[in-house]
C-alpha cells in the first residue's frame, strides 16, 4: 500500500496544535489587554492643554479640592473649573507663564490669540453612559476623593489610580468601612486613620477597622448593591 501521507505530515498535528494554541493565547492576551477594565484605564495619564500640577496647588499651596471642583458635594458631576476660576488667581500670579497660553486665549482679551473659547481638558476618568455615579452621594457620607482618585495631591500630571470597574465599585459597597472617614476629613489628603485615632481618644476605638465600623454604624451607611443604584 502506498504511503498516502508523506513523511512531513507526521508533524502536522503538532503544528496545528501549536498554531491553534498560539492563536488562542493571542486572543486571550488581546482580550486581557484590550477588553478588561483594569488594563483599559489604570495609569492612563494623558497630557493636558495646560500642564496643571495638583502637587503644587494642593500639596504645596494647600488649596481645597472644592475651590476648583466647586460642586462636587452638591452635584452628581464633579465639575472641572471654569476658565474664570483659574483666572481669579492667575491674572495676578504667574500671569506671563507661557504654560498659561490656553488660559489667556480663553480669558484675556488683551492676548493676541484671544478667542474666548473654553479650555478642552482631556478626560481621564470616564464611566460608561449607562452608569450614573454621583459624587455628592459619596463625599457627603464620608468617602474621600482619595479613595477613588488616589493621591492626587502628589500628582504632577493626573493619572487614573483605580480601575473604576463595576467589581471595584462593589468591593467598597460591600465593605464601606475600609474607606469611611469622618466628614471633616473627606477632602484632607494627608488624613491618616491611625493618627486620627490617636488624636481622638474620646472616640473609644483602637484600630482603623473599628473606626470604620463605628462610622458605618453611626452614619447609618448601607450602600446598595442592586442594579438600579447606578444603572437607570
Amino acid at each position: 500500500m502506498a504511503n498516502i501521507f508523506p513523511r512531513w505530515s507526521n508533524l502536522l498535528p503538532l503544528k496545528i496544535a501549536v498554531c491553534i494554541g498560539s492563536a488562542v493565547a493571542g486572543v486571550a492576551l488581546a482580550f486581557n489587554y484590550y477588553a478588561t477594565p483594569k488594563s483599559l484605564t489604570v495609569g492612563y495619564q494623558p497630557s493636558q492643554p495646560i500642564p496643571f500640577s495638583h502637587k503644587i496647588h494642593v500639596d504645596q499651596l494647600g488649596l481645597d479640592c472644592r475651590y476648583c471642583h466647586s460642586f462636587v458635594d452638591v452635584s452628581g458631576h464633579s465639575n472641572v473649573p471654569t476658565s474664570n476660576t483659574c483666572w481669579n488667581c492667575h491674572q495676578h500670579v504667574q500671569r506671563d507663564s507661557p504654560k498659561l497660553a490656553p488660559l489667556h486665549r480663553s480669558m484675556d482679551p488683551a492676548f493676541p490669540g484671544y478667542d474666548g473659547k473654553p479650555i478642552e481638558w482631556v478626560r481621564i476618568h470616564k464611566s460608561p453612559d449607562y452608569v450614573y455615579f454621583n459624587h455628592s452621594a459619596h463625599v457627603n457620607r464620608g468617602i474621600s476623593c482619595q479613595s477613588c482618585h488616589g493621591d492626587v495631591n502628589k500628582m504632577e500630571v493626573v493619572y487614573q489610580d483605580q480601575s473604576h470597574s463595576m467589581g471595584w465599585c462593589l468591593e467598597c459597597h460591600r465593605a464601606p468601612e475600609k474607606h469611611l472617614r469622618p466628614l471633616e476629613e473627606v477632602y484632607n489628603f494627608d488624613y491618616n486613620a491611625e493618627t486620627y485615632i490617636s488624636n481622638n481618644p474620646q472616640l473609644g476605638v483602637k484600630t482603623t477597622k473599628d473606626l470604620g465600623l463605628k462610622l458605618k454604624e453611626q452614619f447609618d451607611v448601607k450602600p446598595k448593591e442592586s442594579c438600579a443604584t447606578c444603572h437607570h
Partner: protein, 1125 residues
C-alpha cells in the same frame, strides 16, 4: 407542543356587565384572540419588513457580521477615544453642571396659558411640568407636555421665505423697513386667541403709529360664545364650587377648557383630594353630559345623553323651559319621551343646587346655545363672585374676525397683513371665505410661524418663528392671572423671531428687526417690552420683577369681573338658530350629520409635525398617526357597512381566491389590517376617508377629526398625488385626510345632510385598542354612590366589596411562589428608609394621555412610526387602556356604554414573574421595592415580557433612537440605514436616563432617576445637622429622619403632569402621613390581578360614579367593572 394557557374561570351568570376594547373583541374576531393570547402578536417578533428581498433576516445578519468583522480588523473600537471635558469660560449664574435648573414660565394658548415649570440641563430645556404655585394651576395636558418637542423639531422653520422660496434676511429687512417707515400703510394684524398684555400694549402703539391699522384674531376652532357674552367677555369655571355640572357638548376636561380643571377631579374622589377623610358621597360633584361622541369629559359623566350637535339647541331650550326662562319659548320642544325623562330630573337637580351648579355650553356651539346657557346660569344664580362661574372681561376687545378681514381686504381697506396666529388660515379657514384668493389680493403679507405650513408658503414673506421656550412675552391664564413667558434658551436658529420682536420692529423708527441676543449679550428687545408692561401694571422695581421671574406669575393682576346679561340679540339669535335646526330634521342614515371634531392628538392641525402627539393613541378611538371618520355601530349596520368595517382586509390568496381571514397572519398581519375608505359628500363637496366604528356615538352622525392631510408625497398609502410636500416634515407627511374642505362658515362645527358611499379602497390604520390586551377579571372596578336595589347594595356596601370583585371574591389566599428572604433569612426588600409605591385613582383618571407623553419626555422613550405601531411595537411605558362596558338589561340606552380608561404601566410586583425567567439577571429587584431593568445586561430574550401578566414591558425591536423610523424602510436597512444621531430632537433627551438601544427590554422605572436624585439630595442633611449642632460628625448619630426624604416630596413624571391628581406616588413607610399611605388604606384600593399573587406596588382605586337616583338610567351607572376573558 403548544403553549399552555391558563384559563380564567367562567364569568358567573349573575354578571350583567359586558365589556370590550374594540369591535373586534365584541365580535370575538380571531385577530383579537391573537392579540390577547400572546405577549406580542403574531408577526410582531418577525423581521418581516418591506418588500425588498435583500432585507431578509439572513441578509441582515450577513451585513451585521461583515460590518463587525470589518470593525474588528482595525481594532479601532477597543481603545477608548480621547474625549474632552469642556467647562464654561465664565460660569453662568445658577448653573451647576449635572444638576437640573428649573424656571417658571408658561405656554400661551387660547382659553388661557398653561403655567409651567421647565427643567433645563446646562441651559437645554428637556421637560415640562405644571407650576403648582400658580392660582390657575391645572396640571398639563398632552399638548403642553409635547410642546417641548416642537422646539427641537427637525423640520422647524429656520429661514425666511419669499413667496414660498428661500430668501435672505436682508431682503426681508428691507421690506420691513419700508413698511415701518410708511405710517400711511393700510396694515392689519391677525393674531391668535391667546391674550398677551404686552401684545395688547404694542397693538395700541401700532394703532397710534399706523392710523389705518386694523386688528383681527383668528383660530380655526372657536365658536360664537363671545356673541352671547359680549365683546371680550369670557366665562371661567371654578369647579371647586360646583356641585352639579351640566355640559352641553363641552369637553371642558379635554379640548375645550373652561377654567382650571383639577378641582373638578378632586371632587370625584369621595375621600377628598388627598384621601384625608372618610368616604362621603355628598362631597362629590355630579356631571351630566350631552354630546355626540365620547369625549374625555363624556367619559367622566355620571349621566350621559347621546345627541347630534344640532339637537343640543333643543335640549338646552328644554332645560331652560323647565326652569321657566322666557327665551326658551323660541325653541322647539323636545318631544322624545326618553329625552324628556332624562331632562326632568336633571332640571330638578339643578333647581336644588341654585348657585352651586353650572351649565357649560361647548365653545364651538352656535351663539343660540350660549344665550340659553347664560340665561340658565343667570336664572340659577351661578355667575358672580364666589359662585361657580365667573364672567371675566378680557383685553381682547375690538378685534375683527376672519370674515371681517376678508371684507376689509376685498374693499381695499387693508393691503398689508401681518399673520401671527398659530392657526393656518390658508389650510383651515372655512372654504366659503376662499382665503387663498383673499390673501393673494394683498400687496404684502407677512407670516410668522414655527412651521412652513400652507400659510407660510402662500404669504409674501414667511418669518421663522421662535418657540415660546425661546422668547420673552407675557400672557394670561384661564382666569386672567398675569403670567410671564421667559426664554429658556436663545433661538436654536439665529433667524427665529418672536411675535413681540416682530411688532417691536414695526414700531421702531427704522424698522430694524432685532431678535434673540443682541451684540455684547444684550437681551432681546422683547425683554424690555415685557418689563415695561409689567411696570405699567403697577409693579415697579427689581424685587417685584425678580419675584415674577421666580414664581412665573403676578397674582394681583387678573381679569376684572364682568356683569353679563342676556344680550339684545339673544331672542333673534335663538329664533334664527331654531329655524335653521328646524329645517334640518333629525339626522337619518340618508342624511347624516357631520361633526368636524377637534382632534385630541393634533388639535386643529397645528401639531401635525409633533411625533409624540401623533403616536399617542387618541384617548377614545385609539388611532395613531391618522384620522378616520367615526360612526356608531347601529348606523353602520343600517347603512350596511358594519361587516365591511369590522372584518379586516382579506390577506391570504390561494390560487387567486381570497380567504376571509388571515388565520395565521405569518408576516406582520397587523400591517394588513386595512379599514375601508368611504366618500363623504356634503353640499356637493366630498372627501374620501377611512372609517371606523365608534361606541357611544349618537346615531346618524359621522365624526371627522380635523387637522390632517396637510401634505402628501409619493409614499402616500391612499394613493393621493403628491401635493404640499414641503408644508410638513417627516412626521406630518401622508397623515390622514383633510376634512376642512367640507366646512364653511355656517357649518364650522357640524353640518347636516351628508351622505356616504363605500369606495372599495382600503387604508391601513394603526389602532392600538387591541394591543397588549390583558386577561383577567375585574381589571377596572366601578361602584355607584346609590343603592339601585340589586345585590350590590348601597354605597358603603359597594365600597366594602371593592376588594372582593371578580376572582378576588372566591380565590384562595395567595401562596407566594418566591421566598421573600435570602439564604441567611434576611428580607430581600429590606430598605428601612424608602419603599416606593403608587396608586392610580380610576375615579379621577379620564385617560387624557398627559402622563403618557410626560413619561415619553422624561424617560427618553422613542417614537416608532405608524408601521411599527401597527405591528404592536409602540414603546410607551404607560399603556392607556380604554374599555367600554354596558349592562345587559340596559333598557334606557343600550348603545351608550360606559367608558372606562385605565392607565397600566409596570406595577413593580414584589414577587415579579418577569424576574425569575430572565436568564441573565437583567431584571432584578432593588432593596427599595423597584423592579429594576439593567439595560446593559439585557440580551433580549423577551422571556420577561412573555411572563408579564400586565403586558407592561416594551422591547426595542429596532434602534429607534438611532435610526429615524419615519424614513420609509429605514429601520430595515440595518447598519446601512440613515442615522438620526445629531438630529436636533436628541437635545431633548434627559441626561439622567439611559438611551436604550436595539434588542433591549424596557418598562416603567417609577422614574428611578428622580428617586435617586431626591434620596441623594437628602443625604446632604447629615452634614447640615452636624454643622447646626456645632459638633464633629463623629459625635452625631444619623437617624432615619435625616436620611428619609420628606413626605410626598418626590413626584414621578406622570404624577406631576396629571391634571386630575389621579396618580399618587410616595414612600409606603410614611404610612398615613403621606397621601399614598392613606390611599392604600381606603376601601377602594385594590390590586390588579391580585389573585395571581404578584403583590404589585401599584394599586388601583375603584371608579366611583355619583348618579342621580331620579334619572331613568341611574341603575345602569356605576357598574362598569371590566372583565376580560
Amino acid at each position: 407542543m403548544s403553549k399552555r394557557i391558563w384559563h380564567h374561570p367562567e364569568v358567573p351568570a349573575s354578571e350583567t356587565t359586558t365589556a370590550w376594547r374594540s369591535p373586534g373583541q365584541l365580535e370575538n374576531s380571531p385577530m383579537f384572540r391573537d392579540w390577547l393570547d400572546r405577549e406580542f402578536p403574531n408577526g410582531t417578533a418577525e423581521m418581516s419588513g418591506p418588500e425588498e428581498a435583500e432585507n431578509t433576516r439572513r441578509s441582515f445578519l450577513k451585513l451585521m457580521g461583515a460590518s463587525s468583522a470589518l470593525a474588528g480588523f482595525g481594532m479601532a473600537a477597543c481603545r477608548r477615544p480621547e474625549t474632552y471635558i469642556v467647562p464654561y469660560t465664565k460660569a453662568p449664574e445658577w448653573v451647576i453642571p449635572g444638576k437640573a435648573t428649573y424656571y417658571a414660565s408658561s405656554m400661551p394658548r387660547s382659553g388661557g396659558a398653561t403655567p409651567l415649570v421647565i427643567t433645563t440641563f446646562e441651559g437645554r430645556p428637556t421637560h415640562l411640568a405644571p407650576n403648582s404655585l400658580h392660582p390657575d394651576a391645572s396640571g398639563t395636558d398632552a399638548f403642553a407636555q409635547a410642546s417641548i418637542l416642537d422646539l427641537y423639531a427637525p423640520n422647524r422653520s429656520r429661514q425666511f421665505l419669499k413667496s414660498g422660496k428661500t430668501s435672505k434676511r436682508a431682503d426681508f429687512q428691507a421690506a420691513l423697513a419700508a413698511l415701518a417707515t410708511n405710517s400711511a400703510a393700510k396694515i392689519a394684524f391677525l393674531s391668535g386667541d391667546d391674550d398677551s398684555p404686552t401684545r395688547n400694549r404694542l397693538q395700541r402703539a401700532l394703532a397710534a403709529k399706523f392710523p389705518a391699522a386694523k386688528f383681527y384674531q383668528y383660530e380655526a376652532l372657536t365658536g360664537e360664545a363671545v356673541k352671547a357674552l359680549g365683546d371680550g367677555v369670557k366665562i371661567a369655571a371654578d369647579f371647586s364650587k360646583a356641585d352639579r355640572i351640566v355640559s352641553l357638548d363641552c369637553d371642558f376636561a379635554g379640548t375645550d377648557p373652561q377654567g382650571p380643571v383639577t378641582p373638578f377631579f378632586d371632587r370625584r374622589k369621595p375621600e377628598g383630594k388627598a384621601y384625608e377623610k372618610a368616604p362621603d358621597a355628598s362631597s362629590m360633584n355630579r356631571l351630566y353630559v350631552v354630546e355626540a361622541a365620547y369625549s374625555l369629559t363624556g367619559g367622566m359623566a355620571d349621566h350621559r345623553l347621546r345627541s347630534a350637535p344640532s339637537r343640543i339647541l333643543h335640549i338646552a331650550g328644554q332645560i331652560a323651559r323647565e326652569l321657566g326662562i322666557p327665551q326658551a319659548g323660541g325653541v322647539d320642544k323636545v318631544t322624545d319621551a326618553k329625552t324628556l325623562s332624562w331632562i326632568k330630573p336633571l332640571v330638578a337637580d339643578l333647581k336644588a343646587h341654585k348657585g352651586k351648579s353650572m351649565v357649560l355650553a361647548g365653545s364651538r356651539q352656535p351663539a343660540a346655545v350660549h344665550h340659553l346657557a347664560l340665561a340658565i346660569n343667570l336664572a340659577l344664580g351661578n355667575i358672580g363672585e364666589g359662585k361657580p362661574l365667573l364672567a371675566l372681561q378680557t383685553e381682547a376687545t375690538g378685534k375683527g374676525t376672519l370674515a371681517d378681514l376678508k371684507k376689509d381686504i376685498d374693499s381695499g381697506a387693508v393691503d398689508t397683513l401681518v399673520i401671527t396666529t398659530p392657526a393656518n388660515p390658508i389650510y383651515d379657514a372655512p372654504v366659503d371665505l376662499d382665503f387663498p384668493a383673499t390673501l393673494a389680493k394683498l400687496k404684502t403679507s407677512i407670516h410668522l410661524g414655527e412651521r412652513t405650513d400652507a400659510t407660510a408658503h402662500a404669504a409674501t414673506w414667511h418669518v421663522p418663528g421662535a418657540h415660546y421656550l425661546e422668547s420673552w412675552t407675557d400672557t394670561r391664564s384661564a382666569r386672567g392671572t398675569y403670567t410671564v413667558v421667559q426664554p429658556m434658551i436663545l433661538p436654536l436658529y439665529p433667524d427665529c423671531v418672536s411675535e413681540i420682536e416682530l411688532l417691536l420692529a414695526l414700531l421702531s423708527a427704522d424698522g430694524k428687526l432685532l431678535n434673540g441676543e443682541g451684540p455684547n449679550a444684550a437681551p432681546s428687545p422683547a425683554f424690555k417690552a415685557v418689563r415695561e408692561t409689567f411696570t405699567a401694571l403697577g409693579s415697579a422695581g427689581d424685587a417685584a420683577w425678580k419675584k415674577l421671574l421666580r414664581d412665573g406669575f403676578h397674582a394681583e393682576s387678573t381679569y376684572p369681573l364682568a356683569n353679563p346679561s342676556l344680550s339684545a340679540s339673544a331672542e333673534a339669535d335663538i329664533a334664527a338658530a331654531n329655524i335653521l335646526a328646524g329645517k334640518a330634521s333629525d339626522p337619518t342614515p340618508k342624511a347624516l350629520e357631520v361633526v368636524f371634531a377637534t382632534d385630541a392628538s393634533i388639535y386643529d392641525g397645528r401639531w401635525i409635525d409633533n411625533a409624540w402627539l401623533q403616536e399617542a393613541p387618541d384617548p377614545i378611538s385609539k388611532i395613531t398617526w391618522d384620522n378616520a371618520a367615526l360612526i356608531a355601530p347601529k348606523t353602520a349596520k343600517e347603512l350596511g357597512i358594519y361587516d365591511i368595517i369590522v372584518s379586516p382586509e382579506p390577506v391570504t390568496k390561494v390560487l387567486g381566491v381570497e380567504s376571509k381571514y388571515a388565520d395565521v397572519g405569518p408576516d406582520g398581519e397587523a400591517n394588513h389590517r386595512k379599514h375601508p375608505v368611504i366618500s363623504v359628500t356634503l353640499n356637493g363637496r366630498s372627501i374620501e376617508i377611512p372609517v371606523m366604528i365608534s361606541f357611544g356615538q349618537a346615531e346618524n352622525t359621522i365624526i371627522i377629526p380635523l387637522g390632517y392631510g396637510q401634505g402628501t408625497d409619493k409614499d402616500d398609502q391612499l394613493g393621493r398625488s403628491p401635493s404640499n410636500t414641503s408644508h410638513v416634515g417627516l412626521v406630518g407627511i401622508n397623515r390622514g385626510v383633510n376634512a376642512y374642505p367640507l366646512r364653511d362658515t355656517s357649518t364650522s362645527y357640524f353640518a347636516t345632510g351628508a351622505s356616504i358611499a363605500i369606495t372599495g379602497k382600503r387604508y391601513p390604520i394603526a389602532v392600538t385598542q387591541e394591543h397588549s390586551a390583558m386577561y383577567g377579571r375585574a381589571l377596572a372596578r366601578e361602584v355607584s354612590t346609590i343603592d339601585s336595589h340589586d345585590d350590590k347594595g348601597g354605597f358603603k356596601q359597594q365600597l366594602a366589596n371593592v376588594k372582593k370583585q371578580g376572582n378576588d371574591s372566591h380565590a384562595p389566599p395567595n401562596v407566594y411562589l418566591y421566598k421573600p428572604e435570602d439564604r441567611k433569612g434576611e428580607a430581600l426588600i429590606n430598605d428601612p428608609l424608602h419603599q416606593w409605591g403608587m396608586s392610580i385613582d380610576l375615579s379621577s383618571c379620564m385617560g387624557c394621555n398627559a402622563c403618557l407623553v410626560a413619561c415619553q419626555s422624561e424617560n427618553n422613550i422613542p417614537i416608532v412610526g405608524k408601521e411599527q405601531v401597527a405591528r404592536g411595537r409602540e414603546m410607551h411605558w404607560i399603556r392607556m387602556d380604554r374599555y367600554f362596558a354596558t349592562q345587559k338589561d340596559n333598557d334606557f340606552d343600550a348603545d351608550n356604554p360606559a367608558l372606562v380608561p385605565q392607565p397600566v404601566a409596570c406595577v413593580h410586583c414584589e414577587s415579579a414573574p418577569c424576574e425569575v425567567v430572565c436568564p441573565v439577571n437583567a431584571t432584578v429587584h432593588t432593596e427599595d421595592g423597584l423592579n429594576a431593568m439593567a439595560y446593559n445586561r439585557c440580551i433580549g430574550t423577551r422571556y420577561c415580557a412573555n411572563n408579564c401578566p400586565y403586558k407592561a414591558r416594551r422591547f426595542n425591536f429596532f434602534d429607534y433612537n438611532k435610526r429615524n423610523p419615519l424614513i420609509t424602510n429605514n429601520l430595515y436597512h440595518g447598519p446601512l440605514g440613515k442615522k438620526a444621531v445629531g438630529d436636533p430632537d436628541h437635545l431633548q433627551k434627559n441626561p439622567n436616563v439611559t438611551v436604550r438601544m436595539r434588542g433591549v427590554m424596557e418598562k416603567c422605572t417609577y422614574c428611578v432617576q428622580r428617586l435617586k436624585d431626591s434620596v441623594i439630595r437628602q443625604k446632604r442633611g447629615q452634614k447640615q445637622e452636624a454643622l447646626v449642632a456645632g459638633k464633629p460628625s463623629t459625635e452625631m448619630q444619623v437617624s432615619t429622619s435625616t436620611l428619609r426624604i420628606p413626605v410626598d416630596s418626590v413626584k414621578t413624571a406622570c404624577q406631576d403632569a396629571c391634571p386630575a391628581n389621579a396618580i399618587t406616588f410616595g414612600n409606603l413607610l410614611d404610612a398615613e402621613k403621606s397621601a399614598l399611605g392613606r390611599s392604600k388604606n381606603i376601601d377602594r384600593n385594590y390590586d390588579l390581578l391580585n389573585y395571581i399573587g404578584t403583590r404589585p406596588r401599584t394599586s388601583y382605586l375603584a371608579r366611583v360614579k355619583n348618579p342621580n337616583p331620579e334619572m331613568p338610567d341611574a341603575k345602569f351607572v356605576g357598574k362598569a367593572t371590566i372583565h376580560m376573558v
